[in-house]
């Protein structure tokens, strides 16, 4: 049954084509059915495929399906081929299923948008590209999907194109991610130059054979790929685009900027893990990027007023965890957290979406409050998701995935005490901003009136996701809690298990204990500031230093400010001053010179007979002189 694989990207693509070409002629009922249906089908197919993969795994737990020959020149032979192994399988499953749920949700959310067909077309195109990215058997095809999702994110962020702000956010997202892509491309060139292929599996083998551990080429390749990854996954230093990306419709934020696309970087690094095993320094860089991002973004999340921006920063910070995991070689932990994060973060955004809808496009949390009774379903699902995000022990998926990462940040051979500390502190921050959001929106006095309640199309997916956010973690539990590891076990066919944990490392249980403490501390702080003593939080930002720090964090540590001055403005400045093209003036200058000569020479043609005669005589004299004295 695996040979149905091609259908999984093909179905949404077909949906995109139909909606794109005939969208204007379709009825408003048909559009969501078509849009969500195509993705639903592809989700079904992927479940089917996954099932058969589990039941009768192909040889070596990997299945390749060559569709057609693509780029063939000299030593380069790249087919359009799909590669299915546990890693891509899990990613694909999560992506297709979550996408389906979000499409269903969108059917409700976008029901009164006149451009619905365009919306679903873009969304379908996104799913197709994302799946291509995941299933690509070579890096060029992966790049195709990679750029495809980037494009869709650009299109969807700027979906409501009439408002220039959205357009700006879309362009920013596209360009910043493409900055990363540039580095990724160069990485590809390097790999092809030195390993002679772009087929991922062959690359891995050859790299392992040809490059010694710590070889500079491996390091270079690792860092270049990392550049691409941080771009796509909004990690330092390229995280600045994600918060602005919230300008798009909320389902978009949920699907692209929370659940799926932004984790492409994680997938890329996991996919290319061999390179990083050969380049410890590059891997360390990954860990550092993750660690730094998760704290910085955590602080920013604490200071946001816009609910979606707050969630966006939390996404950045959670992906930071995944990078940290990758950085310490806990590959499967990263993927595990990706999965759980996909569930609860998508859910959080969907919830936020419903809130915003019902409050008539109000996004400022300080204008919300007391929605607990108004929107019970939203409240409970949102609460569950929030707990999962914070990692409330035992009952939520986040606990297991994040806990694993935190522990291995120290325990794995590549681990460091520093990483562990940062991770735990991150847990504190996470709890703090999560419950800050919850308290601000659902508790306290109602500050604005609820206009409409979400329909079934919107609530049902949320409930499903809520369930997943709770049970999703039980596929991998610590030793002291039943020690299940279906998930990791399955993944280990594609990704190596964590390198032998160091002797003098703390127990998993101890780590989890600390995590729980940090979580409680964060909860306490949030409770103190927003329920017990709301005025206290204002008092914090009153003094100059407090205000400054607040603005600094809120503005994402002033990165945009910096980048504008370093890169954006110089280019725009040059483009503006040189719009008339300085080079041209060289040539026009020559033309002017000729005209000058013309006017000069013209003066000699006086029309006077004797002057002409003089010229002749003079010429004769000169030439006689020349022949005689030269």
């Amino acid at each position: 049954m695996l040979n149905l694989l091609w259908l999984i990207p093909a179905l949404p693509m077909a949906g995109f084509l139909i909606l794109g070409l005939f969208g204007s002629r379709l009825s408003r009922q048909a559009i969501p059915i078509l849009g969500a249906g195509s993705v639903g089908l592809s989700a079904a197919v992927s479940l089917w495929v996954a099932g058969s993969f589990f039941i009768s795994p192909p040889a070596g737990y990997a299945y390749t399906q060559v569709l057609w020959r693509w780029l063939e020149a000299g030593s380069l032979h790249l087919p359009i081929a799909l590669y299915l192994d546990p890693l891509s399988l899990i990613m694909m499953l999560v992506v297709t299923c979550v996408s389906f749920l979000i499409h269903v949700y969108s059917a409700g959310y976008m029901s009164d948008d006149e451009d619905m067909s365009r919306f679903f077309a873009y969304m379908n195109l996104f799913v197709a590209s994302m799946v291509t990215l995941l299933l690509a058997s070579n890096l060029a095809l992966l790049l195709l999907g990679w750029e495809g999702v980037g494009l869709c994110s650009y299109l969807l962020i700027g979906f409501w194109y009439r408002d220039p702000v959205n357009g700006y956010a879309g362009r920013k997202a596209f360009i910043v991610t493409r900055v990363g892509d540039t580095s990724l491309l160069i990485g590809l060139f390097l790999l092809f130059r030195h390993l002679g292929t772009l087929d991922i599996q062959t690359l891995m083998e050859r790299a392992a054979h040809q490059w010694p551990v710590g070889s500079p080429l491996a390091v270079a390749a690792g860092l270049l790929l990392l550049g691409g990854a941080v771009g796509k996954s909004a990690q330092l230093p390229l995280q600045t685009w994600l918060p602005d990306a919230m300008a798009g419709p909320t389902p978009t934020s949920a699907l692209i900027h929370a659940a799926t696309m932004v984790t492409a970087g994680v997938y890329l690094i996991a996919r290319m893990h061999v390179i990083y095993q050969l380049a410890p320094s590059a891997q360390f860089a990954v860990a550092v990027a993750g660690a730094a991002t998760l704290t910085l973004a955590g602080f920013s999340a604490l200071t946001q007023a816009d609910i979606k921006r707050a969630l966006a920063y939390s996404t950045v910070s959670q992906i930071g965890y995944m990078f940290l995991a990758l950085g310490v070689g806990a590959w499967s932990a990263a993927i595990f957290h990706f999965m759980t994060h996909a569930f609860f973060k998508a859910l959080l955004f969907l919830g936020a979406g419903m809130i915003i809808e019902s409050l008539d496009h109000e996004q400022n949390m300080f204008k919300m409050g007391g929605l607990r009774k108004e929107l019970p379903v939203v409240f409970w699902t949102f609460l569950i998701a929030g707990c999962a995000l914070a990692g409330v022990p035992l009952v939520t998926a986040g606990f297991y995935s994040k806990g694993l990462i935190v522990w291995q940040a120290e325990a794995s051979s590549a681990g460091r005490w520093g990483f562990w500390l940062v991770a735990v502190f991150g847990v504190f921050l996470t709890a703090a901003y999560t419950f800050r959001i919850i308290f601000l929106t659902f508790f306290g006095e109602p500050k604005s009136h609820v206009h409409k309640r979400p329909g079934l199309a919107m609530t049902v997916p949320c409930v499903i996701l809520a369930a997943l956010s709770m049970v999703g973690g039980f596929v991998k539990t610590p030793e002291f809690l039943g020690n299940i590891h279906i998930f990791t076990g399955f993944l280990h066919h594609a990704l190596p298990p964590v390198a032998a944990t160091r002797a003098a490392s703390m127990s998993e249980m101890g780590s989890e204990a600390w995590v729980t403490l940090a979580l409680m501390a964060g909860f306490a702080v949030a409770y103190f500031c927003y329920i017990y003593r709301p005025e206290f939080s204002e008092s914090l930002t009153r003094p100059a230093i407090g205000k400054a720090l607040y603005r600094f964090w809120k503005s994402d540590w002033g990165m945009d400010w910096l980048y504008d001055r370093l890169f954006v403005w110089p280019v725009m400045w040059f483009a503006r001053v040189d719009a008339r093209d300085a080079v041209d003036s060289i040539y026009t200058g020559m033309a002017r010179l000729c005209e000058l000569f013309y006017h000069g020479a013209r003066q000699t043609e006086t029309g006077r007979l004797r002057w002409y005669a003089a010229a002749i005589a003079l010429g004769a004299v000169i030439f006689v002189a020349v022949v005689l004295f030269l």
Partner: protein, 484 residues
């Protein structure tokens, strides 16, 4: 003088005879049509007689004149050119209210002079031919004396031509004084003989003065100043004649003289010619750059074109000779065509020489404008025209002698030249409507003039697309030239 020489000189005799006949005919009965017809017939006979003369080539009809196939080729060229000029003049004179008939006598005498120039192998015949040509041209350029400009052109041309002739003569005298002979072959023999002669001041000075005289006729810088005024002032057909026949004959002589006498091999003389060539190419093209009078534009461009020719001339050897010959052919066709258009557009009051007269001509007279455009493209050296092939041959000659500096300057200046040709073409094809009176003043196109233009165009394209035949003719002709 043996009769064989007379046969060899038949073309000259026919031309001379025709002039006499025409003169008598006028005396008997004034008829513009008749005289022009007689002239044409005479020219045709002269042209035909070339084949008779060819049977005897190469021969020296007296020490003065050398009849070789080189000479015959150029004779044919100028006779054909004169033929066309006569046709054009007929239309032109029809519009003028002066005695028309004598025009043709003068034209024939001028052609006789040019023929002598082409044949001459001796200072005396050189001088004779030159003066025959000049004196006739003074009268021709001032022929329409009812207007001011022709008169002005005439007097300017007369004074300057006479003056430069004096320089020429003095130069000849100096050379003669040193060598004791005036025949080109003998001079060549002596110069190639004695080495100290090559540095002799008398000879060098003499050569320089001869260059002055020649340079004036060819309108080379710095002897060029008369050109625009005479071109503008003289009646359009005469201008065409001055631009083609007189220059062509003189250039033929230049090649013969300096190749046979090895004069060009004298270092200083070579240097002088190089300077003249560079100056002509630059000044000619620059002067025309923003000029708004078509006749003057063509005058300046002719200065530049003679400069190009000099580059090939300096290259020396067979490449140069055939390049020069071919380029002259192309240049004749093109210039006649261009002035032909000017002629047929001219009226009784004034010649159509203002750029404005041509605005949007293409949309009213597509064929006429097309011909003019083709001629301009040929001058600019664009493919499908003889000018392109001609320029290609010139460059080939220049490169074959690796005269890189000259060749590069040729290329650059010819691009400057391109600019003003394009300016004229732009006006021809301008889409905005012209001033009403200009549109109204378009004279009807006569059959004879039209057919002449058509023939020229056909020739232009033929030579531009398939130059092989003409090239073989030229090769047979020029390779007979002594001193190659």
């Amino acid at each position: 003088m043996p009769s064989s020489d007379l046969i060899a000189l038949l073309p000259l005799l026919v031309v001379a005879g025709t002039s006499v006949v025409v003169m008598l005919a006028i005396a008997i009965h004034r008829s513009h049509r008749l005289t022009s017809l007689l002239t044409l017939i005479g020219l045709a006979c002269a042209f035909a007689s070339l084949w008779v003369a060819r049977t005897l080539t190469p021969t020296e009809a007296s020490p003065l004149l050398e009849v070789d196939s080189y000479a015959l080729f150029f004779l044919g060229l100028i006779l054909a050119a004169t033929f066309v000029v006569v046709i054009l003049s007929y239309d032109y004179l029809e519009k003028q209210d002066v005695n028309r008939e004598e025009f043709y006598v003068l034209l024939l005498v001028a052609s006789l002079g040019s023929s002598v120039l082409i044949l001459s192998a001796h200072f005396v015949s050189f001088f004779l031919g030159l003066e025959l040509l000049s004196v006739a041209l003074y009268a021709l350029s001032a022929y329409v004396f009812t207007r001011e400009r022709p008169l002005e052109a005439g007097i300017k041309y007369l004074v300057l031509a006479a003056g430069s002739a004096a320089f020429l003569l003095f130069g000849m005298a100096l050379v003669y004084a040193r060598l004791g002979t005036m025949g080109f072959p003998q001079i060549g023999a002596l110069l190639s003989g004695g080495d100290q002669l090559l540095k002799d001041p008398l000879i060098l000075a003499g050569m320089a003065l001869i260059v002055t005289g020649v340079g004036f006729k060819l309108a080379l810088v710095p002897f060029h100043m008369w050109t625009p005024d005479v071109y503008e002032g003289a009646p359009a057909p005469v201008t065409a004649y001055v631009a083609t026949v007189s220059k062509g004959a003189m250039f033929a002589l230049l090649v013969r003289f300096f190749y046979q006498t090895r004069g060009v091999t004298l270092g200083p003389v070579f240097l002088v010619f190089s300077l003249i060539a560079i100056a002509s190419m630059l000044v000619g093209n620059l002067l025309a750059l923003l000029q708004s009078n078509v006749k003057r534009i063509l005058a300046y461009s002719s200065i530049a074109h003679l400069g190009y020719l000099l580059v090939a001339f300096l290259a020396g050897g067979r490449w140069a000779a055939q390049a020069v010959a071919f380029y002259l052919v192309a240049y004749f066709i093109t210039t006649l065509g261009a002035f032909g258009v000017v002629t047929v557009l001219s009226s009784g009051e004034r010649d159509a020489d203002a750029l404005e007269d041509y605005r949007g001509l293409f949309w009213r007279r597509p064929w006429l404008a097309g011909v003019f455009a083709l001629m301009l493209f040929s001058l600019a050296g664009i493919p499908l025209t003889a000018g392109f092939v001609g320029k290609f041959f010139l460059l080939t000659a220049g490169v074959s002698a690796s005269l890189w500096n000259l060749v590069i300057i040729l290329v650059v200046t010819s691009v400057i030249g391109l600019f003003y040709y394009l300016r004229v073409i732009v006006v021809l094809f301008a889409t905005e409507e012209p001033a009403a009176e200009v549109a109204a003043a378009l004279p009807p196109l006569s059959a004879s003039g039209g057919s002449a233009l058509l023939a020229l165009t056909a020739l232009l394209v033929w030579l531009g697309v398939d130059p092989a035949f003409m090239l073989s003719v030229i090769q047979r002709a020029v390779l007979s030239l002594k001193g190659l």
